[in-house]
């Protein structure tokens, strides 16, 4: 499997990463190198092998249903370029 230029632009757009025309070619090469490596891995027969989800066998950690956080709206929006009354402000997006 390999990606063409169009796919590179599309993936970049879906991830909202600005990619210049000059960058598309090199990125395509890098992505294809990675995909080629994955393809190599794909030749290993793993039928009947459970995908590994954790290096050490362990159960997922869970939390109690208790409110422990919140009440820091000013901190939450502190890094935002634009705020008002502790709302984030973004360029208008309307469907």
């Amino acid at each position: 499997m390999s990606v063409d230029e169009r796919t590179v632009r599309r993936i970049a757009h879906l991830a909202r990463i600005a990619v210049t025309d000059e960058e598309v070619g090199p990125l395509q090469g890098e992505l294809n190198a990675i995909l080629a490596f994955v393809e190599q891995l794909g030749t290993v027969d793993v039928s009947g092998v459970e995908p590994m989800t954790s290096v050490t066998p362990m159960a997922m950690k869970k939390r109690e249903d208790v409110v422990t956080e919140g009440g820091r709206a000013a901190d939450v929006v502190a890094n935002a370029p634009e705020t008002e009354d502790n709302y984030f402000l973004v360029p208008k997006v309307v469907e």
Binding site: A15, K62, R63, D65, V76, V77, Y87, F88, V90, V94
Partner: protein, 490 residues
Amino acid sequence: MNAPVDPKKLIKGGLHDWEVIVGMEVHAQVSSRAKLFSGASTEFGAEPNDHVSLVDAAMPGMLPVINAECIAQAVRTGLGLKAQINLRSVFDRKNYFYPDLPQGYQISQYKDPIVGEGEVLVDMADGSSITVGIERLHLEQDAGKSLHDQDPTRSFVDLNRSGVALMEIVSRPDLRSSEEAKAYVTKLRTILRYLGTCDGDMEKGSLRADVNVSVRLPGAPLGTRCEIKNVNSIRFIGQAIETEARRQIAILEDGGTIDQETRLFDPGKGETRSMRSKEEAHDYRYFPDPDLLPLEFDQAFVDGLAEGLPELPDAKKARFVADYGLSPYDAGVLVAERASADYYEAVAKGRDGKAAANWVINELFGRLNKEGLSIEASPVSAAQLGAIVDLIGEDVISGKIAKDLFEIVWTEGGDPRALVESRGMKQVTDTGAIEAAIDQIIAANPDKVAQAKEKPTLLGWFVGQTMKATGGKANPAAVNALLKAKLGIA
């Protein structure tokens, strides 16, 4: 899916009768104190961004830790939907870009949901019932909220809802009319409220539906469907389906084709319209969330939750029919809300179940509806209504006086039994007093007395006069018997 086509459900087009096929994805907010993966509160109506942890705001380095109660709630719901519970499920990232989704992905479940196939029994108004298949239920995060009307060039983003646990409940395309779709959501809401796993408050957005609609000629293969997003009331669900089905029929009868797309329902204009479809088709690039291990639990955990489940509406309805001799319809009305069913049982306990149902449904519900009150806010308690039913049963008051008494208890409160005494509302069963009243009426109306011999239906007039003379307190059976004897009517 392949149930015989009911001609009554078809929609008439200009050329053909069309069958509408509906499937639904209902998003139900899980009732929990904290969010699905953070310790921030889920409470509705807080100040902007006040119920936001650094996880919900997707600050770099923050890791999600799952709320155990949300898992239990999803399992309870699965059990309530008679569904398969998956002891192992997986959280995936659903990637898309939107300002109220700070992570850039929603943590959801894709290939391995926590709950598999189940079913919901839906009662229709005409007494029939349908079974709607449930395809799956999975846990996922809600997004934040964007306000677009605050400023001409800016959208305002509040992340209080971001990360709140949702259950997405996906039905099979088993619904064949807007009525069935509305009844399905109503029933689903009832089940969730019984289970206590979602409050079902549609005004606050706790329950929202994406509705998939397609049409076909009866017996034909499924048509292309459109998805109507985020419909937030049961009435609108019905309207959206009708509107969308008619739009598709008009296109097809004109020789056109339906584009599979996402649409919005505008209740104000009564139309659905295309959501300026994202330039590219949905490409969510799902993959397992590397921050979360698979969700695993054992059957004992499921069994423990099953033991703690309350009696569900179907079982309660069957019990009301069997134990109290109610009609399925009345039983269905009573079990629609758990609070109503509990109220009814408090009234019916040790009394005539049918009489109790009549009073709860006709008098109490009628009055509550008129005043826009919920059963919890009823000014008449179950004990008070029970006392009224007792007084009728004991022949202390007539059914008519009972309605007056109900009115007094509703507006003024008080002990019905004491009120009957203090206000002199007791039924007159003393035949002497009734006889005296009748004698007066007979004496004053000789012409009518003569007519009554020819025309026995005049008895009704005499009964009315007697009741009037006794202030409605005369025992109707006694009045009837005495009048018949005195007027010589067989």
